[in-house]
């Protein structure tokens, strides 16, 4: 009887799984630490989540289009090192556009190999992950870079500035999230991304330029990385040459937590935002509870597995199922 209840009731919860889990986490953590739900702490979590968040927006669109992007981590290293290094050489007004173009070129390589040549996105972006990291090391000669005059540059506004008391990274993340949400839900392009991810063959049979759509999703992903690099470079005013290492997994984790299907064709920008925040709050909560930094990796992984499980359970209509 109880088992039946669970089977019947489970999926209903699972459909709103991310929201329910998010609220549960907030409640549990607020009891465990007084500082957790203070406005200061919340703002600081929002600010810290902005870089992962901006990247996750782009990756969400790639994943809805039916592909993966694991190269965003080292692409972030590349973009941050480039913008910081160029800042003192050519000034921020040139450094930013050069970096954005260079990063878009990397996205275009991904897009060409996956969209036009139709190679497997896991292999291509995994290769790009390592290739771009190599590129960064060649460029920087293994040296970390930094900006000498940190106080005198307007470049500081992206990471350190604020409007009406809201930190600039949060504003950038928020505006981009709204922009991409609108693009994905209301424009022809958004519709086509969902169609291509949902059924590439049927999309081609409907006259949709599948290759071009996939190509564009990788450009968007690269653009998001470039924005994230501006925030990161501006906040740190310097960069290690492997600064983005491991970001690709955090980004993917946020996307999955947000319920975007790795099979493509389904997902939502706003839910990714929820996934990003949830991930950030979990990590923040663990630190406030005095857990060592690396505990968050373990907990993050458990959370993702549960999220994926609830997601497939909702689709199958039961928690355990021998058939797909």
């Amino acid at each position: 009887m109880l088992l039946n209840r669970l089977k019947a009731g489970g999926p209903a919860i699972a459909k709103q799984g991310i929201l329910v889990a998010f609220i549960l986490f907030m409640i549990v953590f607020s009891f465990m630490s007084d500082r957790f739900l203070t406005p200061d702490n919340i703002m600081s979590v929002f600010r810290q989540s902005a870089i992962i968040g901006v990247m996750a927006l782009g990756v969400t669109i790639v994943v809805i289009g039916g592909n993966l992007d694991l190269s965003v981590g080292s692409m972030l290293s590349f973009a941050t090192v480039l913008v910081v290094d160029l800042h003192d050489k050519v000034g921020p007004e040139l450094a930013i556009p050069i970096m954005v173009l260079a990063t878009l070129c990397l996205g275009a390589i991904n897009g060409f190999l996956i969209g036009i040549l139709r190679l497997n996105s896991l292999i291509v972006t995994l290769g790009m992950l390592s290739a771009i990291q190599g590129l960064v090391l060649i460029y920087s000669g293994g040296q970390n870079v930094d900006i000498v005059d940190q106080r005198g540059t307007w470049f500081a506004i992206f990471g350190r500035g604020s409007v009406l008391g809201i930190a600039a990274p949060i504003i950038i993340f928020g505006l981009l999230a709204i922009l991409f949400h609108v693009i994905m839900t209301t424009t022809p392009f958004g519709r086509k991304v969902y169609a291509v991810g949902g059924n590439p063959t049927a999309s081609v049979f409907s006259g949709i330029p599948r290759s071009r759509i996939v190509f564009t999703t990788y450009l968007i992903s690269a653009l998001c990385v470039a924005v994230a690099a501006i925030i990161l470079g501006s906040r740190v005013m310097g960069s290690q040459n492997n600064v983005g290492q491991g970001y690709e997994l955090q980004v993917l984790a946020a996307v999955i937590l947000g319920g975007t299907s790795l099979l493509g064709g389904a997902g939502s920008i706003l839910k990714t935002v929820l996934g990003v925040l949830m991930l950030a709050f979990i990590q923040n909560g663990l630190i406030l509870m005095g857990q060592p930094y690396y505990t968050q990796w373990l907990v993050t992984w458990v959370v993702i597995i549960v999220a994926v499980w609830l997601d497939v359970a909702a689709k199958r209509g039961r928690l355990f199922s021998p058939i797909a």
Partner: protein, 504 residues
């Protein structure tokens, strides 16, 4: 015939609901030992759901399953099989890289000590079963190398590893040739003689009347009655199934033909097809008839820009055109309703409206946004015109019945206002009721001035809808017939590669 009064299987008052749908509404069904009981109903009537309940894949919300007098509860297909209920799926569920024998005993391989597979016993047993089925291949063969028909045999052999009480055949002849059907019917009769209860699901009336003892009809998830085959006829069964009589007569009104819209000259794409020339006029339906692999689909794909020809010309309104991609074809007014609805026609995860407006979503934008009202207008128009049954445009197409799904695809292309409509296998996997609706629709479209090409492997379909018939064999056009001069014999000869004396 077995004279036991106890049914081999009895379903009593089965109710199964899914969110928003009452898929089965108190269905009763029974099959006696040694009886072939046909289960009929349109797509979406609940046959598949009922069989999944029977096979333990779904749990009924209400009702009882009684096997040999005992109420049972089955939660997995393996449990169902242990109870003697075996389902032979419509879509093959074999592991292609494994041998036939391994597939037959999948999940219950005979074992030696330390869990090693006992290959000798495995092959002995499976070959014994395959022999009983008069199969001309052995258990050692890898499944991927077998023809579809032989794969079906493996599927059937799988059912015979246990002492089956009830065997369910779900559309078993969908991919079989006539000769292979005969073998299948022998097997069914053999099972019957040994007292096994057979549930036979099919859309094909002739088979049902040849094979079955009784017929049970479902409609909209509820039980509509059981008929004794000997005392009924196709008409009565059809009426029970779709709630009205079918008009099977051919629309004999002479079409008013317009100008030639599409002309193809010496189109060649070796080795798929060679030297193809034909034309289609406005208001005309041209049927392409031939065996699977005759090159018909490939010609359609070329006309739609999915494939490029080696040589030859395509003319629209007498002007030579280049079609390099589907958008080119669409711009020229060519639409293709593809062969495989689920793989090529629809994005199953999308809703009905978005699927229908997909090819023109770019043109429906007002400013940067897709205009929802323009989309709804198109959807409502074609929902009404094609009588698409769906609660709302928000419904994902995945859950619609085959006939309604096909209408969404047709609606999608009609809404593009094409001049040439190519329809590849328009009624594959669709029940008789929707089938005749789609046939009528194709005739009506031609009457409105569309140039229609229908590709079909079903002779009655081609004969019913076409004004002219192009018969193809092995990548070549063998003959062209006009509707009033065609005979079944000459058509069969043409598609089998037998040269006629006079080639049109």
């Amino acid at each position: 015939m077995n004279e036991k009064l106890e049914p081999a299987l009895r379903l009593k008052g089965i109710v199964k609901t899914f969110p928003g749908v009452r898929a089965l509404d108190g269905v009763d069904f029974e099959v006696m030992p040694g009886e072939v009981h046909a289960l009929l109903g349109e797509n979406g009537a609940g046959k598949s759901t009922l069989m999944k309940v029977l096979a333990g894949m779904y749990q009924p919300d209400e009702g009882q399953i009684i096997i040999a007098g005992q109420p049972v509860r089955m939660t997995t297909p393996i449990e169902a099989k242990a109870q003697g209920v075996v389902l032979i799926h419509q879509e093959l569920s074999l592991v292609p890289e494994m041998s036939a024998a391994e597939n037959i005993y999948l999940g219950e391989l005979p074992l030696k000590s330390f869990g090693r597979v006992d290959w000798t016993t495995l092959y002995e047993r499976s070959n014994a079963i395959l022999e009983r089925l008069n199969c001309n291949f052995r258990g050692e063969v890898t499944v991927v190398n077998l023809s579809i028909a032989n794969q079906q045999m493996v599927e059937i052999a799988r059912a015979l590893t246990v002492d089956a009480r009830v065997v369910v055949f779900d559309e078993p002849t969908a991919s079989l040739t006539d000769a292979e059907k005969v073998v299948l019917f022998e097997i069914i009769n053999d099972l019957k003689a040994r007292g096994v209860g057979i549930v036979y699901i099919s859309h094909r009336m002739d088979e049902i009347f040849t094979l079955s003892d009784r017929i049970t009809v479902l409609r909209d998830g509820s039980y509509r009655g059981t008929l004794t085959t000997a005392d009924t006829n196709e008409d009565e069964v059809t009426r029970l199934m779709i709630g009205r009589s079918l008009d099977l007569s051919r629309d004999t009104a002479t079409p008013t033909l317009g100008e030639t819209v599409l002309e193809v000259r010496n189109l060649t794409c070796a080795p798929l097809y060679r030297d193809i020339s034909f034309s289609v006029r406005a208001g005309e339906v041209v049927g392409f008839y031939g065996l699977v692999g005759a090159g018909r689909t490939e010609i359609a794909e070329t006309l739609f820009g999915l494939r490029s020809a080696d040589s030859g010309e395509i003319l629209i309104d007498g002007e030579k055109v280049q079609i390099g991609s589907p958008p080119d074809a669409i711009a020229l007014g060519i639409s293709l309703v593809p062969e495989n609805r689920k793989e090529q026609g629809l994005v199953l995860s999308m809703n009905c409206r978005d699927n229908m407006t997909l090819p023109q979503v770019q043109n429906l934008a007002s400013g940067p946004f897709v205009s929802s009202s323009a989309e709804n207008e198109i959807f409502d128009k074609y929902r009404e015109k094609l009588e698409i049954k769906t609660p709302s445009w928000r419904q994902t197409v995945r859950v619609l019945s085959g006939g309604n799904q096909q209408k969404i695809v047709i609606g999608k292309w009609l809404s593009m206002q094409p001049r040439v409509l190519i329809v590849d296998e328009p009624t594959r996997g669709i029940d008789v009721g929707s089938k005749s609706e789609i046939h009528a629709l194709l005739r009506a479209l031609a009457a409105q001035g569309y140039a229609v090409i229908v590709i079909s492997s079903e002779m009655p379909e081609v004969l019913r809808v076409s004004d002219r018939i192009v018969a193809m064999y092995n990548g070549r056009i063998m003959r062209e017939f006009t509707a009033d001069l065609v005979t079944e014999d000459s058509l069969v000869q043409a598609i089998s590669g037998i040269k006629a004396t006079e080639v049109a």
